[in-house]
């Protein structure tokens, strides 16, 4: 079939170039104007002074970075990292066995189980967080069932629960895809050769599904790390995450340059993690 392609007339290659231009230019223009230019703005505003009522004064300064390395903000970044990492680990502990069992269900039940995992994810994000306020608040269901009066809301752990609830489906899906692809004969061979269930898991299943583990972890970690809605609604005013600092500096303090600097720090952390993930995936 490919040999016929060679007889293509010369005019067609000009036509092809024109076609490529017509197809690509609208989308790429949109991406340049509304993605690359805005990102360049975030980057460049980090070295300017703040305007009095938002905006910037175009005078070079390093004070935004000096403020960023203040222990107060480093703690916030560290705290966000910790919360996002804890969420990711918990999502793995719940998600891996779930994906593992779904992959072994009969075909019909597999679809049902997968849709059931994804379904909550397609409902309104704010509503899902609201549900936890109802469950965990003072007179809420958890306290009435336990007969206690525990303060369950507005803690770091509440934020973790909210993040886990919101992003767990994003962990299960890539894990399921990785486990599903696994050849069951490999595990049988391992068992026949005398390996225990745990050894088979450690030496065969886990290494072969590692790409899924890494993808799922990224899917959970990235939106958790940059979140400001969940810490605000479930964390009260006590625990600040990087997202809250960005939001407050932007919309309340109207310090656009410093908000941009924190945003840049957030992007930097994510880029480092993505590179680490790509490196780990290549080794896996």
């Amino acid at each position: 079939m490919k040999s016929e392609v060679k007889t293509r007339p010369a005019s067609r290659s000009i036509g092809r170039r024109l076609g490529a231009f017509v197809l690509l230019s609208p989308g790429l223009t949109y991406l340049v104007v509304l993605l690359l230019v805005p990102l360049a703005l975030v980057l460049s505003y980090t070295v300017f002074r703040r305007g009095r009522f938002g905006g910037v004064v175009y005078e070079f300064t390093t004070e935004n970075f000096a403020r960023l390395v203040d222990p107060l903000y480093l703690d916030v970044l560290g705290g966000s990292l910790k919360i996002a990492a804890l969420t990711t680990v918990l999502a793995l502990l719940l998600g891996y066995p779930t994906a593992y069992l779904i992959a072994q269900l009969p075909r019909k039940w597999k679809t049902v189980a997968l849709v059931a995992v994804v379904l909550p994810f397609w409902t309104n994000f704010i509503i899902r967080i609201y549900a936890w306020i109802i469950l965990l608040s003072g007179p809420g269901l958890v306290n009435s069932v336990l007969g206690t009066e525990l303060e369950l809301l507005y803690k770091e752990s509440t934020i973790v629960v909210g993040l886990l609830y919101s992003y767990l489906p994003l962990m299960v899906l890539p894990l399921y895809a990785a486990i599903e692809r696994l050849d069951p004969q490999l595990r049988e061979a391992s068992a026949n050769l005398g390996a225990s269930g745990f050894t088979t898991f450690r030496k065969v299943t886990l290494p072969l599904t590692l790409p899924g583990v890494l993808t799922g972890s990224m899917f959970v970690f990235v939106p958790s790390f940059g979140n400001f809605v969940i810490p605000e609604l479930l964390g009260g005013s006590k625990t600040l995450m990087a997202g809250n600092v960005i939001r407050n500096e932007f919309l309340k303090a109207r310090d656009w340059p410093f908000a941009s600097t924190v945003t840049l720090a957030l992007i930097a952390v994510l880029v480092v993690l993505l590179l680490a993930q790509a490196w780990a995936a290549r080794r896996a």
């Binding site: 993605l35 938002g54 608040s137 939106p223």
Partner: protein, 259 residues
């Protein structure tokens, strides 16, 4: 295959964890009492109050306007972009650029867009939210259409060209029909994402009348009432129906494609 019984603990824990809050939310929406926490008896009165709430009505209308507009932009641009990327370039950099809005945290997109709108001194409102939503929606449409294109047979397009059809009629009569299931799936995805999107809308709406997620957010910050539960229950019903219908549709699409 051996299945260790202990694995069923996290398996069922996952489903209980995912559905318990939803069940409680829906049950409490039928509460006759004033509390969103303690159930007193069955009543539909909160649904009545919800229907009378003008802020919610405006929110629903605004959300639909934004979703429809951004889906239209994203579907056209995303489809063209996907075809262009697969058929005309092998640039990994452009592929990555097209996917970037879907991968970056929403907060980063929101900040960048707000800075940009500030720089060009655009008045914020529904259309700035629409343009912003179209940005990430386009990435999702392009990604979905791409997967369809990679599997599609390009020899049909070549045959059409060899038989004398022009590039436009080949695109409209051969390429597009092959891609239709992907385009529809991408558009549905874009529409749903826009309906639920909060962060970017929150940053780029300015002082205009808000979209529904922002209305819900301010209601929650103001105080917890069963009215929010009633709204939540309706939204849950809408999204569950949409997802299950979408699931059916893609199944039908797939079986047609295989015929």
């Amino acid at each position: 295959m051996r299945r260790s019984k202990i694995l069923y603990v996290p398996f069922w824990a996952t489903y209980v964890f995912l559905y318990l809050p939803i069940v409680v939310l829906v049950v409490m929406s039928f509460n006759s009492g004033k509390s969103a926490y303690t159930y007193e008896g069955f009543s539909l009165k909160w649904y009545g109050e919800l229907a009378a709430d003008e802020r919610v009505q405006t929110g629903v209308v605004n959300t639909l306007i934004v979703a429809a507009g951004s889906t239209a932009i994203a579907t056209v641009l995303g489809t063209l972009l996907a075809v262009g990327l697969v058929r005309h370039t092998r640039s990994k950099a452009l592929d990555a650029l097209a996917l970037m809005p879907a991968v970056l945290p929403d907060l980063v997109l929101a900040i960048g867009l707000l800075l940009f709108y500030g720089l060009i001194q655009m008045t914020l409102g529904l259309y700035s939210v629409m343009l912003s939503h179209a940005l990430f929606s386009m990435a999702f449409v392009a990604a979905v259409v791409r997967t369809r294109l990679v599997g599609a047979d390009s020899s049909l397009e070549e045959a059409s060209r060899d038989l004398g059809a022009g590039p436009v009629s080949t695109f409209v009569r051969i390429t597009l029909p092959q891609l239709t299931p992907g385009i529809v799936a991408g558009a549905l995805l874009a529409f749903t994402l826009s309906l639920d999107e909060f962060v970017i809308a929150f940053f780029t709406i300015g002082n205009a009348e808000p979209t529904l997620p922002i209305v819900i957010y301010s209601m929650i910050r103001f105080g917890v009432t069963p009215k929010i539960n009633a709204l939540a229950a309706i939204l849950l019903l809408v999204s569950f129906t949409a997802v299950i219908a979408g699931q059916r549709l893609t199944k039908i699409g797939e079986s047609r494609a295989q015929d």
